[in-house]
Assembly symmetry: C2
Homo-oligomer: 227 residues x 2
Amino acid sequence: MVALNLVNRPNKRRQAPDQVSELTTNRLSIYLRCLHELDANGVQTISSQALAEQFQLNAAQIRKDLAYFGEFGVRGVGYYVKELRRHLRQILGLDRKLRVAIVGAGNLGLALADYPGFRQEGFEIAALFDAAREKIGQHSRGGVPIHDIKELKRIARRERLDISVIAVPAPHAQLVVDQVVAAGIKGILNFSPGALHVPEDVKLKSVDLTVSLESLSFYLAQGEIDG
Amino acid sequence: MVALNLVNRPNKRRQAPDQVSELTTNRLSIYLRCLHELDANGVQTISSQALAEQFQLNAAQIRKDLAYFGEFGVRGVGYYVKELRRHLRQILGLDRKLRVAIVGAGNLGLALADYPGFRQEGFEIAALFDAAREKIGQHSRGGVPIHDIKELKRIARRERLDISVIAVPAPHAQLVVDQVVAAGIKGILNFSPGALHVPEDVKLKSVDLTVSLESLSFYLAQGEIDG
DNA sequence: TTTTGTGAACTAGTTCACAGCT
DNA sequence: AGCTGTGAACTAGTTCACAAAA
């Protein structure tokens, strides 16, 4: 019983539950990575228990996460690796290429443009953007072209950009986000520190390096007190 | 029960509660950033309500977070900006310089070494490490020297390194983490994808770019189904 | 009056434990 | 027998609401 949208939603939908928590979607991505490996190693089936042992996780957690989306397992057997992988890719929307733009061709932006973790199956870094005249027209080492930020809207349409990574200094971040939103991009991964505002239909995820470091610092400080 | 060192712990300690959640420590860092700004703008006092409005947060949440560590506010007034900032810095262990090493002098490692968010008050990027012969002896653009990873233990001691950032390809990550741990470093910020294991007394935080992107992809895919 | 600090109520997320399928 | 899928129990985290302080 799948998505049929035209009719009223049935109470229990399997394809898109009312609210899947971010914790769950993050874990789905982790499961998927593990399934890649298992498949590469020729493993055919895996139980939730065996999967849970790979990470610091409870088997019921994994079953619950998957159960939001369907019944993928076989009782007494576990999950077929290839099949579950296919399902997860579909659920995560990785069954097509997503086109990513990076705004900010500074050290970080350029590094991200060529970062293997970003050039992975399912994603494609299609463009870099910057405001600095001398950078425009250049390329990253890996060959991603740097465009004028003013061209964002036009190129977003032409290149069918899905996701934008924000790697500009904090003071410009909100302005850039506004431009990204205006260009119709609905997914943003932000590396600038500080709070940013987006409309409801845009999904913003932030990675705040300062917060991560300071939080680490807290634990170090505690460790010294507590022994 | 817990570590009792020399004396029994009083039931209610203010300096280091038994378990402060990571969510709380992350927020403390966010509050601190905001207090910097407020202070720079000459603001003297701030209420939890006003602070909460800056981010997507509830005022009681902020008061609770702070209350773990002491009574910093004044009823009817709010919090004195300078004073609270001083307290938060102390709580987060930022009242001294923390020395950071980055392992992996690839694109990402080099970018992080010169990233302003990392060169911030409280932190100092003291060294880069790599295994590639041709990189050793070089410097990042910002002047951070690149050492042989084999020297990690020696230099960690000499330079009194507190935190290590892991920016190496996934297959080497666990090996590098083991070396970092062996060098006596107790705080690790990891950018490699995949699960890593550390002893109990070492704090590991991971930023997984693939997971972030794939989680974004999920929301994009849902958006298209749900309308 | 204003705003904190905090128990109580609530909400979200995790784990348990077991019925039911293979 | 083995393992999933899931309600129930539990744990963690957030918000409410109000007494107490300035």
